[in-house]
């Protein structure tokens, strides 16, 4: 049984973006619990030279959108908010989830080159940003665990 490009890309991006939404909600809860501005926690990072939480979430969004553009003959015309506050990031995530949903309804043409792109570039880059956002949250003491990152085991892939 072969895996189609859609099977490789769409459930992974959908699930990951939902996880990113959950991480943003956790960050908001942490800001309230600590009585610090959201902006402070959005800029939290593992070291001075490392990307911030906000940059990792935006990185995941960029990988999702640019990845689908690379895989599909499908214009990236779902509008995207550029505001750098928490509301802006949440809006970008919602817009990107909508974009992935639109892509799911289009025709993916499977080629060896596209499989190599997904496996070699898109998935590692996407998981790098998602896992790094998780790492930033854990490093500031947010009460999350790996099950937050993994979500429903295989749930979105049940039809694959």
């Amino acid at each position: 049984m072969d895996l189609l490009i859609r099977d490789l890309a769409v459930p992974t991006l959908s699930r990951g973006l939902f996880v990113a939404e959950r991480y943003c909600a956790v960050l908001a809860q942490q800001a309230i619990a600590r009585n610090v501005p959201w902006s402070t926690l959005l800029e939290a990072r593992l070291s001075d030279l490392a990307p911030s939480f906000c940059e990792h979430i935006d990185g995941a969004i960029d990988v999702a959108r640019s990845g689908l553009v690379a895989l599909l003959d499908f214009a990236d015309d779902v509008p995207i908010t550029m505001d750098r506050d928490l509301a802006g990031i949440k809006a970008r995530l919602a817009q990107t989830i909508e974009y992935v949903g639109q892509a799911d309804g289009t025709v993916f043409i499977d080629t060896d080159e596209k499989v190599e792109y997904v496996v070699g570039t898109m998935l590692p880059a996407f998981y790098l940003h998602l896992a790094s956002a998780h790492a930033v949250l854990r490093s500031i003491g947010a009460p999350i665990g790996k099950s937050d990152y993994l979500g429903d085991l295989g749930g979105l892939y049940s039809a694959v």
Binding site: D2, A125, Y127, L128, G154
Partner: protein
């Protein structure tokens, strides 16, 4: 070969293990350059209740080895988890490469339909190999690799840039060698 489970699972594991080995080389060089003990990095963790760097590397290698063994329907060798320096961790990664490259191709070809019984923190789920690979194995494998990345980045280690196309050429050369039965 487009989209076969082998063409996704094998390059993913080779890709991740190559990244991981590069991180270990950078970490070892960092310790030598700074003249600090390797244990200062090996025992580091991102949060008190998270795995140390050593355990993250072992978990990534275990994921690759056990996950691929389950997909192929074969047993994986057990390791004692006794690594205490970067050379030993790199040897663990090298052993993992070797095991993955030795898996019987005809067994892997049937991995998509093979039912995998996955247990994780009290949840048990039986799923086809494809769902296991995409929904659990790949994200979990990368999780541990990028926790290593995070620990090293936090502790000031300069790490190789994200995967380049040149690096992928080496991964696919290795994958093609597996497919053709080469070394």
């Amino acid at each position: 070969m487009t989209g076969s489970i082998e063409s996704v699972a094998l390059p993913t594991m080779l890709r991740g293990l190559t990244l991981l080995d590069g991180y270990l080389v950078s970490a070892q060089e960092f310790c030598e350059r700074r003249r600090i003990s390797e244990s200062s990095l090996l025992d580091a963790k991102l949060a008190p209740d998270m795995f140390t760097l050593v355990r993250q590397v072992q978990a990534a290698a275990d994921n690759a080895m056990n996950g691929m063994a389950r997909l192929a329907g074969v047993d994986a060798p057990a390791f004692a988890d006794t690594e205490s320096d970067f050379d030993a961790l790199r040897a663990r990664v090298a052993n993992t490469f070797e095991f993955i490259e030795s898996l019987p191709r005809e067994q892997l070809a049937m991995a998509g339909e093979r039912l995998i019984d996955q247990r994780y923190r009290g949840v048990r789920k039986t799923m086809p190999g494809t769902a296991y690979l995409l929904g659990f194995l790949i994200p979990n494998f990368y999780f541990h690799i990028f926790m290593v990345y995070g620990i090293l980045l936090r502790d000031g280690v300069s790490l190789p840039p994200p995967p380049s196309s040149q690096a992928m050429d080496a991964v696919y050369a290795r994958f093609e060698a597996i497919q053709t039965g080469g070394s």
